[in-house]
Each structure stands twice: as structure tokens, then as C-alpha cells.
Subunit: 153 residues, 2 copies
Amino acid sequence: MANMADAIEQYIKTMLAESSDGVVELQRSQLAELFSCAPSQINYVLATRFQLEQGYFVETRRGGGGYVRITVLSFDPSKDWQLMFDTIGESISQARGEAIVARLMREEYVTEREAAMLKAAMGRDVLTVNLPWRDVIRAQVLKAMLIALRKFS
Amino acid sequence: MANMADAIEQYIKTMLAESSDGVVELQRSQLAELFSCAPSQINYVLATRFQLEQGYFVETRRGGGGYVRITVLSFDPSKDWQLMFDTIGESISQARGEAIVARLMREEYVTEREAAMLKAAMGRDVLTVNLPWRDVIRAQVLKAMLIALRKFS
DNA sequence: TACATTAAGGTCAAAGATGGTCAGGGGGAG
DNA sequence: CTCCCCCTGACCATCTTTGACCTTAATGTA
């Protein structure tokens, strides 16, 4: 684990996996202390790896007795489908696209093979069009494939 | 070993052979340092000798803790495979692409769901780029998705 | 109650750390 | 002599890490 962000991400995900209810509560300063990093580094990890579209819900509270609470959300296609499409929007970066695929795989909505295909089709070296059009094509490809899968559920 | 590109290629292939899982992770700058060459030389080697069609899957990441990960894809001995890739070529129409997918499904190389994804990703209304580039992008997307499946075979 | 103090967490911009791209030069095989 | 392959360097894109400064909540104290 070359960088800290990944290590912190893993740490939190392990805690979530070990928790019975998929909820974990921690203190920013304490976690920063544990990894000997700036407290704002924790915010960076939360912002890049535990966003709503990735299936996590983060609540915080400041002041004495403050905390950061992270909850794993389950994906309910009938409810979250539209939200996911809105998240993809007209244009999406490779990183965010992959985050969405990672979530769908975690939720077992797509198989490992299907996830690999989705990722492959989103690569920058595959969609050889200049930005910002590449992100637009990626959004279209991703949505088209997801719609195709939707028909089977 | 007259030229450096070959030496670097051999170096990486040796590492892959020695690895138990056919995956090797390295750092571009470090490898360039080892061979006393420009970092971009590594990209040249990757681009010319470790392409998807040659059975290698390359993933990279920038920034702190960045890396280059190379995975050997399992070898598919069938002649059909190579033939299919030649058929796809650099560029392919939607109709011909769909014909290939139909055949893959008949031969049970891909599931019904996967076939639906492949077709969806090849649509002309999805790949909104003007001809002849659309056919080029379609060929790249199709090949990338099929090669991604080789990781599982 | 009002205010001060302490204890959290939040934001954002800048710097650092990698890898990517592309145009162009050099050299050898036909 | 030409073409193709190799190689480099300047400039670009992306991801990480930190630090200075800000906001909010709980608690102590007059």
C-alpha cells in the first residue's frame, strides 16, 4: 500500500466489514493520529472513496463528542436506478465511472466478468477521443450497457 | 540486446514469468532509472509490446503511490480467436459487430447478458462520433471488452 | 443566561508525486 | 534515399498530502 489514502480506505472498509450492521463511527483526529497524517487527509479519503454514488453515507458532527459515521448503503435497483443515471449524467470521468462499477459489483448487481467488460469499455485508451468528448462518450456507453442489463432484472 | 526497448521488454517479461499470478506492478520512473532512460521510453515499450492484442493488460495510476500494473492474459490456443480479432480489425460497422456478438453467444463464449452489453456499447447512437471514426472506436471498444473476458478463461 | 473556552470537524488552495502525450531527431535496413 | 523503429524532452493530466484558516457543538463559569 504505497499511499496513505489507500491504506486508510482499506482500514475503514475492514471495519465496516467487521461490523454487524455496516455502520462504523470514528473520530477524524484519532484516525489521523493513527496514520500520522493531517486530519484533512481523512476528508480527502471520505470525499474520494466514500461518496454517495459509491454506496456510502457519511454523517459527521463537530464539537465536543464529534464523530464521523459511515454507513454502507444497499443498492435497490427499483429505487436507486434513476439516481445512478443522474449521477452519470451527460459526461463522466473514468475514475467516477469505475467507482460506480465497483459499487454495482459489490452489490452483486453485475458479475465480475461484466464489471471487467464495463471497465474495459470505459478506458481512456479505448475511447480515443479528445476530452471533453471522451467523457461524454463514456457516459453514453456506460448508460447504454447498464440499460441493457436492466432488461434482465 | 542491441536496443533498450528490447531489454526493457525482456526485463518485464522475466518478472511476469517469475511472478506466481502473472501480474507485475512497477513504477515508471523507477524502471526508467534502472535503465537510465527517459520515463517516456517505458510508455513506448508498453505501447509497442504489451498491448491488449498481444495478451497483456496494462493498468496505470498517476499521483502519489502511482504504478504501472501489467497482467498476462491467459493464452487462448484456438485459431478462431485470432481470426475473430483480424475480422474486427481497426474498424468495424455496427452490423458486422453485432454479427460477431451473435456468434459468440451461439458458441456460449458470452452469456446473454454479456451479449446485450456488447451490443449496447456498439450502437451508433451511443458512439456519437462521426464516421469513419465511429467504426474505429467501435472496434476498440469491442476488442477491449472481449479481451477483458480473457482474464477469466 | 451569557460568555469564554475547549474540542471536534470542514474547506480550499498550493505543493508534491507520478504517469501520459506528442513532436521531432537519429540511425539502420531495404 | 526512404521508411520504420527507437529514444528523448518539453509540456500535460491526475492523484495525494499538507497547512492555514473557518465553523459548530459541548462545557465550564460568573
